[in-house]
């Protein structure tokens, strides 16, 4: 058709303008193709990461939960209640044809070890004393006392690990000091010489706590063996799975490396990885910072060395440094002052000669670690549990998101979480009435009741020291931190027997479960599964909320949507700009063509024909440049799909579900992008086309030349 030809010729004769407009359209199309592909791929890979590591396809939790479930954290609270009658839930849901497995969970956090806060607390205590703020001083004093007692406890543990005779003089004296500070007499006499006591704590005790970080753990209390089977990214790294029915703990390898490993060794590992990534000590600030920390934190090493091992390390370092220096600290500082040339050698040397004398992991596989946490009702608890091994989520090794998930058994979770159900509360009240005690520490009671599940535990759990109860009840003390300390000792005493207990599957299933992951059978779409499970939950009146993995994961699930919004805002802006430019240039072209269009009108072209001519231009623009954009986009996506986008930052590994993201090419995306270009071209033509139809044949008559 001639109108088409005129359109083509018009575009051709305004080459520069057409190219600019076309460039914009191509760029926009490219972005749409790339963006969509990136997001879809990202969404899929993220789904894989989330679904197969922690969330499962669906999650169920109590319908009356106060907060929404957020597996990876959220701004809200985590009051998600508990599932009533989990065995029935499992029976009903696993009976569905869509469902592969239902895995019970209880997600919570705990702390292992105490430490470092001591400095801060002492500083605050000193300030409080200066201001004469008695209440504050009292609270802080209790806190400090608790920390010191914990430290004492930990040092006693350490004592058990290291031969006492081999300790350095300094360490031995430190132990004596801590023992003194942890004693009742020390705190009874605190008021008589406040400054003296403070000084003693600051100078003698605080340094002992150096390098003793608190390890904050997020853990999932679950049926670990079912978990391992259901989540296909799960993989043991070291050690062994928790034996069936036993209590136990599994560290995520990443947490284990990041938090439990000796700090200096960990920093050297990180330096090695970063150097392997092409960075250089000479130029990279991060590397320099780690090197500086290694030099500054020499105590991390000396703290752990006894006389004999110190001598061995001294000798090795002297040889490496070709120095006759005898001061170990100076030697370590010099040794840690590494450069790009000697790093590899010294790294090896460190592991061969220094590490054997260190406690490379503060908790070793086979050790018992004491998990401390707060129960649902806010009381401190602690449960000793055996570390059986470490695991990882395949291809997500370096992702801190999934790496934050550690595993423990359900019974340990229940003890830490200390949830009390309604009927048990009644039981407790009856108990109180009978014994004539006004109130029992809820914690103690809870522990007793939960223990009661396995009969053997009950007597030990009840044997909580009376001081704990007193402390917890004393209104002047508030809910007391002492309770935690004493609970810890209490727990320790019954800890050994806890580890020996074996629970039946029924016992494991029967207790408190906060939420459960549902794995769907292969090939079942998440939406279908969600519908089926929701229906079953309603039919059987299970009282559960059912959410898909995206909703369950909290903030992270929304991540893709955030990128989506950002990207599409960008694309929107680009297209708006394109729209304005195309519109303007077309309006100008229309003005230049008034005579031509007027002539056509005079000759007998209807308005609709003029409109068609402009539509033809839009179609040509859209087709040609849309095709180029789509083609280019497809080529880039194809290439990136083949090569893969590397995950530059560890956090990206999780999103990418692996070290590289391989973009997927989908015809729908290409068509969608093309359609958008058409729409933009059409939209930007509307106004000039309208103007053109308003041109009268009279305007062709008027002499313009």
């Amino acid at each position: 058709m001639v109108l088409f030809r005129i359109a083509l010729r018009n575009l051709w004769s305004h080459k520069t303008k057409t190219l600019i407009v076309g460039g914009l359209l191509v760029f926009g199309t490219l972005l749409v193709v790339l963006g969509q592909s990136l997001l879809t791929t990202l969404d899929q890979s993220m789904a894989r990461s989330i679904v197969n590591s922690v969330a499962g396809h669906l999650q169920v939790y109590a319908a009356d939960a106060k907060d929404n479930l957020a597996l990876f954290g959220s701004f809200e609270g985590t009051e998600i209640g508990q599932i009533k009658d989990f065995p029935r839930v499992r029976k009903v849901l696993e009976g569905l044809p869509e469902v592969q497995a239902v895995i019970p969970m209880g997600i919570d956090s705990a702390v292992v070890f105490g430490g470092n806060v001591l400095d801060v607390k002492l500083e605050q205590l000193r300030a409080a004393e200066k201001q004469g703020d008695h209440a504050r001083s009292h609270a802080l004093r209790n806190h400090v006392r608790r920390i010191v007692v914990m430290l004492h406890q930990e040092l006693k543990n350490l004592n058990g690990l290291v031969d006492k005779a081999k300790l350095t003089e300094e360490t031995r004296q430190g132990l004596v000091d801590v023992e003194r500070a942890a004693a009742k007499e020390f705190w009874d006499s605190y008021e008589t010489d406040v400054l003296g006591h403070l000084e003693f704590l600051e100078n003698k005790i605080a340094p002992m706590a150096l390098g003793e970080d608190m390890i904050f753990l997020r853990y999932i209390g679950t049926d670990t063996n079912r978990y391992a089977k259901a989540f296909d990214l799960f993989e043991m790294v070291d050690g062994q799975p928790i034996p069936a029915g036993k209590r136990g703990f599994l560290f995520n390898k990443l947490t284990y490396e990041e938090q439990v490993k000796h700090k200096t060794a960990r920093r050297l590992d990180r330096m090695r990885d970063r150097l392997a990534g092409g960075f250089q000590l000479a130029t990279d600030d991060e590397l320099k910072n780690w090197r500086k920390l290694n030099k500054d934190q020499h105590k991390e090493i000396t703290y752990q060395l006894d006389d004999d091992s110190a001598a061995a390390v001294r000798k090795a370092l002297q040889a490496e440094l070709k120095s006759s220096e005898t001061d170990l600290v100076k030697l370590i500082v010099a040794f840690m002052d590494m450069n790009d040339q000697n790093f590899a050698r010294r790294y090896k040397l460190f592991y061969e000669t220094v590490v054997p004398h260190l406690n490379l992991y503060s908790v070793k596989i086979g050790d018992t670690l004491t998990l401390r946490g707060l129960t649902a009702s806010g009381y401190p608890t602690s449960v000793p549990v055996t570390l059986y091994g470490t695991f990882r989520f395949r291809s997500l090794d370096k992702s801190a998101v999934s790496g934050a998930a550690n595993l423990t058994d359900l019974n340990t979770f229940r003890d830490l979480y200390g949830f009390m159900s309604a009927d048990r509360k009644k039981e407790l009240e009856a108990l109180e009435a009978k014994s004539g005690v006004r109130a029992i520490s809820r914690d103690e009671a809870e522990a007793a009741l939960f223990g009661g599940e396995g009969e053997e535990v009950a007597p030990e759990a009840v044997a909580v020291t009376p001081t704990a109860v007193e402390a917890a009840l004393d209104p002047t003390e508030g809910f007391d931190e002492f309770a935690g300390v004493d609970m810890a000792t209490g727990a320790k005493t019954h800890g050994a027997s806890l580890a020996d207990l074996t629970y039946t599957q029924a016992q494991t299933d029967g207790g408190v479960v906060r939420n459960a992951a549902i794995m769907l059978k292969p090939g079942v779409a998440v939406a279908d599964g969600l519908r089926a499970v929701t229906l079953a939950v309603e039919r059987e009146k299970l009282g559960l909320k059912v959410v898909d993995w995206r909703k369950a994961s909290g903030l992270i699930g929304d991540f893709v949507w955030v990128i989506y919004v950002i990207l599409f805002t960008a694309i929107f802006v680009i297209f708006i700009v394109a729209l304005v430019i195309i519109n303007n240039s077309m309006v100008m072209a229309t003005m230049e063509r008034v005579r031509e269009i007027g002539t056509m009108r005079a000759i007998g072209a209807q308005r609709t024909e003029i409109l068609k001519m402009f539509a033809a231009e839009a179609v040509v623009l859209g087709t040609v440049f849309g095709a180029v954009g789509v083609g280019l986009g497809a080529a880039i996506v194809g290439t990136l799909g083949y090569v893969g986008i590397p995950a530059y930052v560890d956090q990206m590994v999780f999103l990418f579900a692996g070290p590289r993201l391989h973009l997927l090419l989908s015809p729908t995306h290409l068509l969608f992008a093309w359609a958008i270009v058409y729409v933009v071209a059409a939209l930007s033509t509307i106004y000039p086309a309208y103007l053109a139809t308003r041109i009268t044949p009279l305007q062709a008559m008027q002499d313009a030349e």
């Binding site: 018009n10 002539t599 308005r607």
Partner: protein
Amino acid sequence: MDHPPAIVRLTGVDKDYLLGKVVVPALRGIDLAIQPGEFTVIAGPSGSGKTTALNLIGCVDVATRGIVTVDGHDTAKLSERDLTKLRLERLGFIFQSFNLVGVLDAFQNVEFPLLLQRKLTKAERRERVMDLLQEVGIDQYAKHRPNELSGGQRQRVAIARALVTRPQIVLADEPTANLDSETGNAIVDLMEKLNDEGTTFLFSTHDPRVVDRAGRVVRLMDGRIVEDVTRRAVGASRIAQSA
């Protein structure tokens, strides 16, 4: 006089232009009838209203008062759409500055009105266009774009375009104004020849030499007809006259 029905008739036509608040009367009390086959020139000094009159007849403007009928239709009563159709089917336009579509070649420019009409097949169009181009003597330039043609050649293309739909009347506003006198004469020769074949021509001009060759001269002055002379009957042989 005994006339066949007029193809164009203006009855008591006034045309006022509004220049801001000032009313500019461009035509006053025009009564004019054009018979099929006439070769009429509207003459008159600049500003006398020649273009205005042609615009009214060409259905691209409307009279302020009075009636304009073209091919029996009162143009004031037709819709925009029907007016356009009337222009396409009944009228041919030749513009002073040719007004060819720059991006189309000579052939395509001439073919354009046929495409709008959607009546002929491609082959028929081709034949019609090539015949016309041959007749106006530029068939060898069919593939040339307007900017590759001389003024006279362009005007020939424009004439071919005006004639291609075989309109009943061809309107031309000073078709020779942008041409040198030699080319101008050649163009008038061509129009006379086509007039002999039956097309009605109505055009305006300043040029006294062109006026001399017209069959009928309508002279305007300040928007009024001051003279209306018919020198020869419709279809009368100019060959006889020039001999």
